[in-house]
Symmetry: D2
Subunit: 145 residues, 4 copies
């Protein structure tokens, strides 16, 4: 099944996401940790669309784990906003994938992040990316990567 | 702008929702409180599509607050599932709206709830629904209400 | 190790919980689904203190799943509040435990709920409560049950 | 009122935090974004204990906003773990505070982060830290800062 709303652009994968009550805090803005949820949804759809499924990995005892994030929170989002999560590969080598992610509202970049994820096995040990997955990720490096 | 993915059916409003990492817990299933998030998103889109916007209400010092929920958790959802949140009005009177909501996976009902929300003002006092909103809500009572 | 802050009273188990940014939404109040998190923490500590540990259950392929909740949201909590989650057993029979839970701020009851949880096995099938656990739960029925 | 569980050590402020169902995901480990919640609770208690209260700031139209985070996710936490959030000031100048935070389990560092927060006013504009707050923060720079 196609991912509803997901599209591929020259800049990478884009997933639209609405801001709901749950995403905001008493300051009236989106709670900072919620952007990590938006970005994780973007990564999951990005991976799924290039053929990598969490439940299939899990059946083999493998899972993607986040290793490092550097995040700039530039401008706030608020209730009812429609945001776009843009994801592209910076590099994919060994067990690691480095992604560039942005949360945007139209042309404004609200949050920009570099995210390193690793494929790990049952004991948390790094597992080499299957060559097909690595090549599919590498092919998706965006012009903003 | 149209709500991406939202549709109206004979049974009410339907919003598709993907299950992501954030929604699951170590039992391998969706964490029970996350269904309330899915249902809140369904209610927000339902209200928005009949012309009720949270940010516009907030600008007038009004907000919808949940007063009561009765929830049956019938079957578990898991990672990567695509769920449908179905929402219809049971009744809309005074400051209160009673909604019937279901979280479904295809034809299976995973979670079924009756939800009472009230429009409240700055001090938490109930505020009468504007007649246009009340009528729009009443017109949307589904056949499964 | 003792549960920090947990105490037993005539009315049952009490767990103090601070309201943080993450718990609030743009209305300035605690987001309704967050009370379910507070109550789940209360149940987990309640169970742990009578000798039932989630990780030990999980090692045997068992987990507690919420089956039903009826919740009244009576008054709002706000940032920096210190709340108390009060938990007591209503009944414990077969695979099911019915609990009474309240989220309080001092003497005010903000949220009151009846919660039914069931012990389930790997396929989601109900599993009988071990007699020792059932008896320990039954012994903890509070005067407000 | 004293913060339950909070203590001051030579290394800074320490807040114990239990891992509950809500914090885990289907991989069996704590969901990466949840560590930001733990760290935000640590920062809030750290600030409160040196006399900075979110609700008092909010009454003046001010709020702390996260500007930047660099986070290393080193080792996973799991259900029932008791973690310690350690917080110390790196520097406090103008409107900005740079903090060093760690999430630990005993002597193990599971997550290490550098967090920049800024005090902002109603329009999101930076607001100078009150001198008393800046001095109190500077006095709390830990030996691990």
């Amino acid at each position: 099944m196609d991912e509803p709303g997901s599209i591929w652009t020259q800049a990478g994968h884009e997933l639209p996401q609405r801001v709901y009550f749950e995403d905001t805090d008493f300051s009236g803005r989106v709670y900072h940790a919620r952007y990590l949820h938006f970005m994780e949804r973007g990564r999951s759809d990005y991976l799924r669309l290039i053929g990598i499924h969490h439940h299939a990995l899990a059946a083999e005892g493998r899972v993607f784990a986040v290793r490092h994030m550097a995040i700039d929170f530039l401008k706030p989002a608020t209730i009812d906003d429609v945001l776009t999560v843009r994801t592209s590969t910076v590099k994919a080598t060994g067990a690691r994938v480095v992604l560039r992610q942005e949360v945007r509202r139209g042309d404004e970049v609200l949050v920009a992040a570099t995210v390193t994820v690793a494929l790990v096995g049952a004991r948390g040990r790094p597992v080499k990316l299957p060559p097909a997955a690595r090549d599919a990720l590498a092919a998706r490096s965006g012009t903003n990567g």
